[in-house]
Amino acid sequence: MRLLRHPLVLAGLAILALLAIGEAVAPGFAGAGQLRSQFVIAAMLGVIAAGQNLVILAGREGIDLSVGAMLGLGALVAGNVMDGDNAMILAGLGAAVAVTGAFGLLNGLGITILRIPPLVMTLGMAGVIQGLLIILTSGRPSGRAAPALTRFIIDPLVAGIPGLVFVWAGLAVLLIWFLRRSRAGLNIYAIGTNQEAARLSGVPVTATRVLVFALSGAFSGITGFLILGYTQSVFIGVGNAYVLPSIIAVVIGGTPLSGGTGGYTGTIAGAILLTLLQSLLNAMAIEPFGRQIIFGLVLIGLMLIYGRQDRLRV
């Protein structure tokens, strides 16, 4: 029974249940082709939620509402650097990460040095970036993905699984290792659990908090790069739909909004759950308002059975 109480086991069971319901409602829902596209979408959410996860883990009401705008910024930068040229893929990724990482750094500095609450700072930053994007592009899509990137993201790479899923898996392994084995990762948990005790143990509190916001910016930039590859060209507002889901994926993944405990393993499950739920509701062919009601109720229900279990010790 102990095993059943483990959040990851619960998340796995919930995912299987969603697939079963989906298959019953709309045959083919759990088929290979469907699953492939589900995982591509989940991977996008998973990468952007990785940055959100770090910010929330570090505590002190940490939250990043600028991830959506950052995503748009990353896509714009990457698209203009690549502009359809396969040779410029890595340069595009690097540029996107550098620019969004820098804006994330500004978030971190505003929150630590100027002591602006994270909610306000990142919301303000989202507005600033959104405005900049409109000025720079006049509101029209700008820049193109390199064709090789698009093929890598969508087409099956090994065993029918698209390259993007491997990218996500690689990032996940790196991030989980980072949180468990690097000094910076342990410092994030330390300041999220007890900031004063962390300071008295020699943890560089300010630097660590700035780091999580910079990383969150960078992860949003990577997501923008990936989404650009997926859809080839993007509107600047593309990221807005990711802001709340990135937070929800973290929270149903077992990291409380107060921070200090939880980890990325749960967030992966959270991202998959959320993606399947949304696509199941789409498949059920219900009116949009009915979909919203069910979505909301299921989320609340998930937190009832799931958020009260022993939290992940990762």
């Binding site: 468990r180 084995r181 690097s182 000094r183 910076a184 990762g185 342990l186 410092n187 948990y189 330390a190 659990t193 007890n194 004063e196 005790a197 962390a198 300071r199 008295l200 143990s201 020699g202 943890v203 560089p204 200090g260 405990t261 939290r311 010790r313």
Partner: protein, 497 residues
Amino acid sequence: MSLLVAENIRKAFGSTLALDGASLTVEPGEVHGLIGSNGCGKSTLCKIAAGSVGADEGHLRFDGREGFFGTPAAAAAAGIAVFYQELSLIPDLDVAENIALGHEPGRRGMVDGGAIHREGARLLARFGSSGGKGLTPGALVRDLSADQRQIAEICKILARAPKLVIFDEATSSLDGDQVQIFFEIVRELREAGTGIIFISHRMDELFAICDRITVMRDGRTEATLPVATTDREAVLTLMVGSALATRHRDEAPPRPGAPVLEVAGLSNAVLRDVSFTLHEGEILGLGGLHGQGQSAVLRAIFGADPSSGSVRLGGMPHARRSPAAAIRAGLGYVSGDRGINGVFLDRPILENMAIAHLSKSRAAVFRPRAFVERVAGIVARLNLRFAGYDFPLRTLSGGNQQKVVIARWLATGPRVLLLDDPTKGIDVEAKADLYAIIDELAAEGVAILLHSSEDEELLSTAHRVLVFGSGRIRADLAGEALTPTALYRAAYEVSAA
């Protein structure tokens, strides 16, 4: 008939006996002093009288009414007012509103703001201009200085026209003039037949204002003495008692070590020009009444709070920029306030032990297996047992949590350990283990600065004790001079007979 009679009160908090055989009698129109060392039970006794803590056994009579008060409100309604050490003012209300709080004039749910401010002004006027600038009925409490808040708190009590007032450390923030005015007010209350319990650590004040003094020790009432026929020496002797007198450490450190920590002219918001030298292998105790600068010294040296003055560590200047810098210089700091300053309850035991070592080594990667090898010896030495390094720290008892914090610092191989009341709130067995390890570390040459709120622990552990008062070192006691009486004498500022 006596105003207040409390007889043979007994009160246990968990396994700790706070009061056993505590008695106190206060007459109408009497100022009754209450004195005793830290944790002797005088505050608990007053809280029982005022209904905010229940008693296990005993008997209480107030103003002809038998029985204990069930709630503070019941005691207040009967005419008992308490001046709390932790002030009860609300920062975002103004002075007059605070004074009137709970018995605002007005009717049908409407408050008469004008009457509140007139009454506030009348009471504040008693302190004349001694309250200083800004102490007006309309001033917000959050903008007041510490002494002004104490004055506002005193006015709040006067506004209730009580039959018995308990002043618990009411003068601690007041200056000389303000204390004189406070005494005048106390004398007026006495003239009016009010009974007054006056708790203070300042012997001079007790002898200046009280009619009788009750001395408490270890939860018992030792004696009640009329001030006219007693002296400070007699009070001090009763406070020290006989049990303590034999329990002190007489041996010097095994070998006279080199100076490790040289502190000169350390000052900040709490500290006034503190200077001393700590040697290799020495256990230097910091004693005195609660909160006189003992913790502030440790925190300043560790770089946790800002300070001026100079500190040299192993002959080199120690800049005190941050705890991180102090850790790299070879310092370690253990606080008795584990919850705030020490533990990461939701994190694994292993990480709780590793965090300072990681900071000190600046290694980018944490290698759990190598670290477990490093701490295995320390864990065994601390007599520390747990189900596994991966378990969250909250699964351990308070004593074992504190041992994990000690292990955290031992893993860094410190030259100087700063211990800030490290045994606060932990069980007797864990205490004994901690003191054993402190002795061993000193024998190995680690220099230890130990603040303890329990005088017995200082006397049985420290080679030398600095007694603090008002942020200064009042006495430096070692060898023959380090006796319980000398410790009390310095803490309570009683000059040698």
